[in-house]
Symmetry: C2
């Protein structure tokens, strides 16, 4: 297994890279990818040795160009292959002589269009030389730290107006690994994660996965300290047995959130003509995910929303939620959604209700506030009332987590309610997620402040309920498997190191 990890590590930390099919022709995959390494504008430039391979060029972007891989002096850890499909096996043959550890095959035209033989040939040559292969028919790898970037979608695009604009952004370094069978979903994810300022530890698109599969990558990410959460897009699973084993092992250390598409019959047919995936019965996947603690997202929004929650805060156990709000209607909607997804929103304990009554007596909160859960401080709320109420709710032993629907619209609120509630939350080991509804500047700013202060925030009460469910269900999985304490210890250690 050590050897596996070491080989796979060459995808992310190669000392040398050859781009087979590098070209000067603007816009071509071979040009985009080579430029990514040589001159990656928004990100760091690749720091190792870099070799363009193209029989027709002398140099590309100031780098000496070689006619063949064999001509390169010394070993080459990683090759990125963009040549036509029928030339790929030959390139791998040459790579054997260069002690290549890893190959990203961008080229399409294999299994996904029925060319199984060609793909088998690639597999067999790679195996002979002990080369780990990503792809074919993939985007490959993006790793901000070392500048490895085999994504053939250029970061920038020039519009017909002449405007140069970021088209496929590369996110900052962060704690989320994004691994995907679909390249297009991968590029969409890069755009989403960049826009929402969610950092990425490793990005991997594995396409036809003729060799390196989701299970291999999970094994690698298990030991990858930069990765705390794994987002995974799948159309099929290569080896069910491997997946069941490794996914469980990983889930005990870091959460895996999955979208498995091809759920419906028509969807499975579409998946087959996309990555050649044989989707199989969906309920089998459900069972496998359930068993291994993998969290299955129902749709794109939930996928990213849950990922954000798990990347931001600690999970916990239990299923009873406290809702703190200044917005009656959204409070009711949040109760509904919690109950629908299997959480409860029970009345607060007698002793907490008594404390809220005391607050009313003292005039600390308004008499018209509802305090039975949801705690609705009404549109007349002022910052301090949220702070004192959050503290009381955290103290209630029946509350396992808090959803804070702190809509910014109420005139008595400044930013203080966010800052001070975040401080209160830090005193307790119960998860809290936040929500503000709206799409104008202050709503975006409010959610951003929540996020920055460690309260993952959402734009609807339902999204917040789903995030809370994921935190509590994942905590439950860890506890059932006696892994919660170790997870929390590890989490706290990381937090301390970060400070």
């Amino acid at each position: 297994m050590e050897d596996t990890i070491q080989k796979l590590d060459a995808f992310f930390n190669p000392r040398s890279v050859a781009v087979i099919g590098a070209t000067k022709s603007q816009g071509k995959a071979g040009a985009v990818i080579f430029e990514n390494f040589a001159n990656n504008e928004p990100q760091s430039v690749f720091k190792g040795k870099l070799y363009p391979i193209n029989p027709k060029e002398e140099e590309i972007s100031g780098f000496k160009c070689y006619k063949t891989l064999s001509e390169v002096p010394g070993d080459v850890d990683l090759i990125v292959v963009i040549v036509p499909s029928n030339a790929v096996a030959g390139v791998l043959e040459e790579a054997g002589g260069k002690h290549t550890k890893a190959a990203v095959i961008i080229s399409a035209g294999f299994k996904e269009v029925g060319n199984h033989e060609l793909e088998d040939q690639v597999i067999s040559v790679a195996k002979k030389h002990g080369i780990r292969v990503l792809g074919p028919n993939c985007l490959g790898v993006f790793y901000a730290k070392t500048g490895v970037d085999s994504i053939f979608l250029p970061a920038y695009k020039v519009l017909s107006t002449g405007e140069k604009i970021i088209s496929t952004p590369r996110p900052e370094l962060g704690n989320i690994a994004m691994i995907t069978q679909s390249g297009a979903f991968g590029s969409a994810a890069l755009d989403y994660l960049s826009g929402r300022e969610m950092g990425v530890s490793k990005f991997v698109s594995f396409g036809n996965k003729c060799d390196t599969s989701e299970s291999d990558m999970l094994e690698y990410l298990l030991q990858d300290e930069e990765t705390h959460v794994i987002l995974l897009y799948l159309e099929d699973i290569k080896s069910g047995k491997d997946f069941l084993q490794i996914a469980k092992k990983v889930s005990l250390k870091k959460p895996i959130v999955v979208i498995k598409s091809g759920r419906s019959e028509a969807g499975a047919r579409a998946a087959a003509s996309h990555t050649g995936a044989i989707a199989g019965a969906d309920k089998i996947y459900d069972a496998a995910f359930e068993k291994t603690g993998v969290i299955r997202a129902k749709n794109t929004n939930e996928f990213f929303n849950i990922g954000k929650a798990l990347a931001s805060i600690k999970p916990s156990v239990g299923s009873n939620v406290g809702i703190l709000t200044d917005a009656g209607g959204p409070g009711v909607m949040c109760v509904d959604e919690c109950e629908i997804v299997g959480l409860t929103v029970n009345e607060l304990s007698e002793s907490t209700l008594k404390k809220f009554e005391d607050l009313k007596e003292k005039g600390s909160i308004f008499k018209i506030a509802a305090t039975h859960n949801p705690v609705d401080l009404t549109g007349s709320v002022i910052d301090d009332q949220f702070v004192i109420s959050a503290d009381l709710m955290f103290q209630d032993p029946t509350i396992n987590g808090i959803i804070f629907l702190g809509l910014h619209h109420m005139p008595g609120l400044q930013e203080r309610y966010i800052i001070e509630v975040a401080k209160i939350a830090a005193k307790y080991d119960k998860p809290i997620v936040a929500c503000d509804i709206g799409e104008t500047a202050l709503a975006l700013k409010t959610r951003k402040l929540f996020d920055t202060l460690g309260l993952p925030s959402y734009s609807s009460p339902e999204d917040a309920a789903h995030a809370m469910k994921a935190l509590l269900r994942y905590g439950e999985f860890l506890q059932k498997n006696n892994a919660l304490d170790a997870y929390i210890t590890e989490y706290n250690k990381r937090k301390t190191t970060q400070k």
Copy 2:
């Protein structure tokens, strides 16, 4: 009924307004609301006669202040009441003498906190004088055209940094009516609709609805030419009989999209302490909505997403969807979601498949493109391939609507694919909705361009599927009731007038 409409019209088009409880005290509801009328910064100022009522002031913002409503010279069409709950009935008594038609009662402290007697008293005085009442415990009305704005949440807020920022925006005039039982959900909706540039025809928050109910407002909106779609947030229905009758009548002319909260037992309890709503069994609501053609949204996102689709394009009939994409994975996800919500994504007809094969032969689209539906032109797509493919799919008689997942990331795409597909779409009577995934500038710009050109756009394949479902299901409802042709005629007439 004529009389009802005329009275209700005084909420939106009053010749004169008195604000009872207007004040100079910054931030107070009485100050915010009076300023809304007197000096509505981002919107138009109220053009009728305006009277502040406050026994302690001589003038407010340059307007002569009256000690009581009775002192105002002449009649007053609309009063906005902000005084303490026990003084409200007295104000309505005075309003009788001023031939007041409509009263917005902002004041809380009635049924929602158990003061049923006080609310009954208000109802009885209003009835005696024939005054229509909105509220109590509500935000009332916002109508951009005349400057009526009784929302006590100020448009602007000054942050602790000193920055002045829009806090509760008022949307531009548009074709969506937003009516809501929850004020907080209402303010959130104003923020959402403003941010997404979805214009609002009328905004009404009716709180405890002691008099004017959802059914009254639906009756008014039925004849309101500015309203094409109605978004409705409910916690209960005041009179089931009235609602069943009027909702069906309205649905045949304009779609009603509803969120009905208090679905769960705990949610119903929360609703009761919010607006005093008695939610009742949720399945009864489901049946009522089904019967009347009211489209029930499952959550906040779906609510606005469906509203956008119906406000943008024509519904149609059928249930088979064509998916056109450059993104294999999102294509599969979209198929899944269509099938889950009861649509189909069948293989294209033989003749269309043949035409796609011809395109491949001619080199107009790539050989590797999948054309069985989804039509996946792959990441190598260029603008023209989308245009020619959309045309073929629209022509296929088995296709009832198209979901266009045109992700902008592919390097061969400019804006042309959006502009030209929109032109193609205009030639056909089948609905088309669009999707681009991402949260950085070009994704936002892409979705904006789709919207501007009349293709309602969404940020996930699942959201697009839900929008398409609403368009086809609403069309089916209209057709079953022999109302589709009239709807389309009306729709086309409006479009022509707009041009």
